[in-house]
């Protein structure tokens, strides 16, 4: 048996040491590290060497507003996504498996549908003369069309819709791992459904909320299509600003600096989450 193992072709053996990992390492350096370094270099060398690009971004009120707006949208989108995704994920977690996989399929299918198509569909639904406003006016609920597009509301609705699967998927995983018997135990202990949710289900699902929340937040920070189409010109987000800097103004230095700030913030958030979730694991909790 062991002789057999020794005579197996070397390709099946686990590569050991740095030598075996070299091709993958080269690939990662070439396609991931080099562009990021190039980005950083551009931000401090163009048009002239120095930190003036960063000074401009932090000093100018217009750019500060874009940053603020970006974080505001990302925060609101993440919060609303968590609230909408939780009941859906819980339903999926406790559904019979066959029905569950059908619903799961529907959610995945929406993810596979073209992003632009879905965003344009929301434009049709949300505009002043769109389906939603027409229906509400027809049944007499409102007399004036609601401002649902070209503002934060429009961006939030469109982005929550697109982000939902990214929140639901990790959350379902966490919720499925919770034994429903645990909630029955909580009930017999005297916890009302609301209390069982607050004290048991919610804390137990935090790792899933954190994982999904981080993903949604980070994706929202850099989102381009949906905020551009559903948001107004007055609440531009970072990605749109970078596009404008590079495409229209051809200011690669400033664009790179903005992109690099976005990257640093994202990495900081990731590190924070790793610390929070990791620390809990160490103590034997979730």
């Amino acid at each position: 048996m062991s002789g057999n193992l020794l005579h197996r072709p070397s390709i099946f053996r686990r590569p050991d040491g740095i030598g075996g990992a070299l091709p993958a390492l080269i690939l990662i350096i070439l396609f991931f590290v080099v562009p990021v370094v190039a980005l950083l270099l551009r931000s401090v060398t163009e048009p002239v060497p120095g930190l003036q690009n960063y000074a401009t971004l932090f000093g100018d009120g217009t750019y500060a507003r874009v940053f603020f707006n970006t974080f505001l949208v990302a925060t609101v989108v993440t919060a609303v996504t968590v609230i909408v995704a939780f009941p859906v994920a819980w339903m999926l977690a406790i559904m019979p498996p066959t029905l569950g996989s059908i619903v799961f399929g529907i959610i995945i299918l929406s993810m596979w549908t073209n992003l632009l198509t879905r965003t344009y569909a929301w434009m049709v639904l949300l505009q002043r003369t769109g389906v939603i406003n027409r229906t509400l006016m027809d049944i007499g609920l409102i007399s004036q069309p609601l401002p649902l597009i070209n503002n934060l509301t429009g961006v939030t609705i469109g982005m929550v819709y697109i982000m939902l699967p990214f929140m639901i998927l990790p959350l379902v995983g966490t919720l499925r791992a919770i034994d429903p018997m645990t909630l029955r135990a909580a009930a017999l202990c005297g916890a009302s459904p609301l209390e069982a949710f607050r004290r048991i289900l919610l804390p137990l699902s935090l790792p899933g909320i954190a994982a999904g929340g981080l993903m949604v937040f980070v994706m929202s920070l850099g989102y381009f299509v949906t905020p551009t189409l559903l948001g107004g010109t007055s609440n531009m987000m970072l990605a749109a600003m970078i596009a404008q800097m590079i495409q229209s103004l051809l200011n690669w230095g400033l664009g790179s600096a903005a992109a690099f700030i976005l990257l640093v913030v994202t990495m900081a958030l990731y590190a924070l989450q790793l610390r929070l979730v990791g620390a809990k694991r160490m103590t034997g909790g979730i």
Binding site: R184, G190, A191, A196, I200
Partner: protein, 359 residues
């Protein structure tokens, strides 16, 4: 009739056309340790869940001190429960788990502290309060679950196969703990298991379930020594069933003919059989002797295999009719030397300790 503490009245639960529980009625006095014993799917867990409020019965009632529990939601029933699976709250420490039912009841912090300490000492886990459930063994987790279920002094404690996930040695250890805790707290316990040894070891009374009905209810001795049916006799303890023909009954004492033609009289019966009716004679393995006693009946057998088990000897024997039977005589020295000497011989049993059931 005096009002019983917990009363299950004509409880019935159907799932579609399947009747899981078939009009079960039980009265349970305060402080009793009652076990629902039965094979899986016999309705014992469904009955327990109806008491816990996890399942609404199709008809019938569950009364605690005369008041119906059916309209009371689970979280207001004030019932303690230990589950088959580990249901501790994984994000809370052992002490916080035990404190949980007291916290949701908004008890003062000093009382919570005192009660948690008292409960952890009851289950002998005083030094584990700060640990998380994930760092505990299965047995320790179930003891914490027990402490959590008793922390709010519930009048009834439900236990749904709490030891089935543990290994044998640990099971026996925790059985002893449960007995001690029952003795010390005086709580009324309803215990569900499919393990007859566990049921015999723990309970004051056993309700044996079969196909959604209670086949027999009584003490372990009742069920073991006076089984009301062949099902009870075969489910509790080990038993041999010898085909027999009923000849006549005089004053509750029957005479039968076994398959090898031998006639045995003095079999105690409590039902009526007609002449020539096909029956089965149940003899416990340990009721067999290697030497005749007063009023014993003999059975010609051939020993196939014998093994020594300390207090008892286990023999696989074959009757003259070709049936293999399980024989466990006491391992008496003199008896043994004589007994093992030849492989073809007679073994003996007291007909009064045997039971006759319809075939």
């Amino acid at each position: 009739m005096t009002e019983s503490f917990l009363s299950i009245r004509d409880l019935r639960k159907t799932f579609g056309s399947f009747v899981a529980v078939h009009d079960v009625t039980i009265d349970i006095p305060k402080g009793e340790f009652l076990t629902f014993l039965g094979p899986s799917g016999s309705g014992k867990s469904t009955t327990l869940y109806a008491i816990a409020g996890f399942q609404h019965p199709t008809s019938g009632d569950v009364l605690l001190e005369g008041r119906s529990l059916l309209s009371v939601p689970s979280h207001k029933r004030n019932i303690g429960m230990v589950f088959q699976r580990y249901t501790l709250f994984q994000h809370l420490t052992v002490a916080e788990n035990v404190a949980f039912p007291l916290r949701v009841r908004r008890r003062p912090e000093a009382e919570v502290k005192r009660k948690v300490a008292e409960m952890l000492s009851l289950v002998r886990l005083e030094s584990f309060g700060g640990r998380y459930p994930g760092a505990l063994s299965g047995g320790q987790q179930q003891r914490v679950a027990l402490a959590r279920a008793l922390a709010y002094d519930p009048p009834i404690l439900l236990m749904d196969e709490p030891l089935s996930a543990l290994d044998k040695k640990l099971r026996e250890e925790i059985q002893a703990e449960i007995r001690r805790i029952h003795r010390e707290t005086g709580v009324t316990i309803l215990y569900v298991t499919h393990d007859q040894d566990e049921a015999l070891h723990l309970s004051d009374r056993i309700a044996l379930f079969r196909d959604g009905r209670i086949e027999q209810i009584g003490t372990g001795e009742d069920l073991y020594l006076r089984p009301g049916s062949e099902f009870v006799a075969s489910f509790i303890g080990n038993s041999n069933f010898l085909p027999a023909e009923h000849l006549e009954t005089v004053n509750g004492s029957a005479t039968i003919r076994l398959a090898d033609g031998s006639v045995v009289s003095g079999v105690r019966i409590d039902q009526n059989f007609s002449h020539g009716q096909k029956t089965r004679l149940m003899v416990r393995p340990e009721a067999f002797r290697l030497r005749p006693g007063p009023a014993t009946a003999g059975l010609a057998v051939e020993f196939i295999d014998t093994a020594f088990f300390g207090e008892r000897r286990r023999v696989i024997a074959r009757t003259a009719a070709g049936q293999e039977i399980d024989v466990r005589p006491t391992s008496d020295m003199a008896e043994a030397q004589e007994g093992i000497a030849s492989s073809r011989q007679q073994i003996f049993f007291d007909p009064a300790a045997a039971f006759l059931f319809p075939a």
